[in-house]
């Protein structure tokens, strides 16, 4: 089975964010593969391994630094990559524009499935999978937690997370899927994997070369930090029981929730 995985490089979840203009200050940030995209990469590799055939192609829009995350995915076991290295485009791209670029990059490839993360943890948009499906004219299944392909590779049976439960759907391939936590446990890149990754092909392009000029459909006008939360009151008392009584009183009289 051939798959394409869309991978975004994002700040590590521990990063303390500082605002710079309508964006964030990027000095000192440790960049990692978007956690949901790791599930996507892992699933694509597992499907290839299961069938003992096919290949996994990583597609990423990002500046120079994105190559490190692309190499990590190649070290995990992906076969090749398309790096749309276009810092200027990337800086203004919103999910709509991003999807235009990814779709243009994917159109020339051969694939049975496209995997993405359910959400990039920097913009927290959760939109690219839907836009990409629309642009490629393919069905989209989001929030996937279990993925199985029929022997003839014509359909996938997929479990997706829904509110308060799960839904099992069947969809003809090719199709677009977005990964949710629970789909799998991503592997670490092995040392031989890292060595091999250095020689795997990465096709570097820019948005113009893909014939894409679509601008963003959303514009950030202002970026700010959340209002600082003041540490509140520590409830004191002789023992746990007295503290519990004081807390209950506060919830009743101050918060007025009981």
């Amino acid at each position: 089975m051939n798959t394409v995985v869309c991978l975004k490089q994002v700040p590590d979840t521990e990063t303390l964010i500082k605002v710079a203009g309508t964006s964030i200050a990027t000095e000192g940030i440790k960049w990692v593969i978007n956690p949901y995209d790791e599930f996507a990469v892992e699933e694509a590799i597992r499907q290839k391994e299961k069938m003992n055939a096919g290949k996994v192609t990583i597609v990423s829009l990002g500046p120079d630094r994105a190559i490190e995350s692309i190499r990590t995915a190649l070290a995990m076991g992906a076969d090749d990559a398309v790096h749309i290295n276009d810092g200027a485009y990337y800086d203004t791209a919103d999910p709509y524009a991003t999807a235009q670029v990814l779709a243009a990059a994917i159109k020339g490839l051969t694939y049975d499935a496209v995997f993405l993360g359910k959400q990039a943890i920097d913009d927290d948009a959760g939109q690219v999978p839907a836009f990409l499906g629309e642009l490629l004219g393919l069905p989209v299944v989001t929030q996937v937690i279990k993925f199985e392909v029929s022997a003839d590779k014509k359909t996938a049976t997929v479990t997706r997370e829904i509110e308060g439960g799960q839904m099992v759907v069947e969809v003809p391939l090719p199709a677009v899927f977005s990964a949710q936590k629970g789909l799998n446990e991503p592997r670490y890149a092995s040392l031989p994997g890292i060595m091999k990754a250095k020689k795997k092909p990465v096709d570097v392009k820019n948005a113009g070369a893909l014939g894409v000029s679509a601008g963003p459909m959303t514009v950030i006008k202002e970026m700010s930090l959340p209002p600082a939360r003041q540490a509140g009151k520590i409830i004191t008392g002789d023992d746990a029981k007295a503290k519990a009584a004081a807390l209950a009183k506060a919830l009743h009289e101050e918060v007025k929730i009981i």
Partner: protein, 322 residues
């Protein structure tokens, strides 16, 4: 039409609260407020939307809409949107809304602004405030195309009763069946009456300090005392240990919640956990370690063993409730 079209989501035979939140918000923008409700049995529910400001309610009802199938719902909604020609489309950023909203925007060939917590009208445009970087920053965002498609985080806006004209119109949609490729094989929804974490007004959450799955019973008991709008949650440590299902996880790779009250029991307050609950209106932390970072965010902190505090708290609340 210079007005707003809202999508009223139906779950388990009822309109979700989030739909009322966006309807009463839309009323503030001026212009007509239209609502579109899709589902089997939706017609009977439609009039409720008038109470929160809907002037016109488009109903798409039929057996084919029993389950949420993205393509069918998107086609139906887009047909209504093409008739209404709104300048703004509001949806709820619920689990379903997160799937539905970008698909609608994509079909209308415009952008979307997800999971917003504040909306304000500036001239003809709505400017939305939304968290990014897991709530570590907030952006003011303008969608430049028309309509502006905006999803709103449940519980963020509140709602008020405000009468709308409430004219109900049943719409017959023509679905292009050839495009409906995803077939639903099974739906499993837990038979709980608890609200989803994202919509709950009160969440009692447990972490590694709970020591085992059996002890979550105590948190469920506490939650029940707060009534039907309360539920329980968990940290990733509790979920990874297998004590709670992932659907309970609050945080960066779990759910983002903003209840009126969040009670964290035996949770240290790692940055990824805070990312999911930092916008809660009141935070209570119960932790035996006075240095736990959760105390820097908590409105009320109790430094003690939760196995003593929680049972006592249950008794005290029972006393107050009499």
């Amino acid at each position: 039409m210079a007005g707003t079209l809202i999508y009223a989501e139906v779950q388990k035979g009822e309109i979700k609260k989030g739909a009322f939140e966006i309807t009463s918000k839309a009323k503030e923008f001026g212009g007509e407020v239209a609502a579109c409700i899709i589902g089997k049995g939706a017609e009977a529910l439609a009039p409720q939307l008038a109470k929160y400001g809907a002037d016109k309610i488009y109903v798409v009802d039929g057996p084919e809409f029993e389950n949420y199938v993205p393509e069918a719902f998107v086609q139906a909604f887009v047909q209504v949107a093409n008739t209404v020609q709104p300048t703004v489309i509001l949806t709820s950023a619920s689990a379903q809304g997160k799937d539905f909203t970008p698909a609608v925007a994509a079909r209308l060939n415009v952008g979307a602004v997800s999971d917003c917590v504040e909306l304000k009208k500036e001239g003809d445009k709505v400017i939305a405030k939304r968290p990014m970087y897991a709530g570590k920053a907030y952006a003011l965002v303008e969608a430049v195309g028309t309509p502006q498609v905006i999803s709103v985080r449940p519980n963020a806006l509140g709602f008020k009763e405000i009468a709308g004209a409430g004219a109900v119109e049943k719409v017959a949609v023509n679905l292009d069946a050839s495009k409906i490729k995803v077939q639903v094989k099974a739906v499993e929804v837990a038979a709980t009456t608890e609200p989803d974490q994202t919509e709950a007004e009160i969440i009692v959450s447990g972490g590694r300090g709970m020591k085992g799955p059996e002890n979550f019973k105590m948190l469920e008991d506490l939650a029940k005392l707060f009534g039907p709008t309360a539920t329980t949650g968990a940290s990733r440590a509790a979920v990874d240990a297998g004590w709670r299902a992932h659907s309970y996880q609050v945080g960066q790779t779990g759910k983002t919640v903003s209840p009126n009250l969040y009670i964290a029991c035996g949770i240290s307050g790692a940055i990824q956990h805070l990312a999911g609950m930092g916008t809660s209106k009141v935070i209570v932390a119960i932790n035996k370690d006075p240095e736990a970072p959760i105390f820097t965010k908590a409105d009320y902190g109790v430094v003690d063993d939760l196995f003593n505090v929680v049972p006592a708290l249950i008794e005290e609340i029972k006393k107050i409730k009499g």
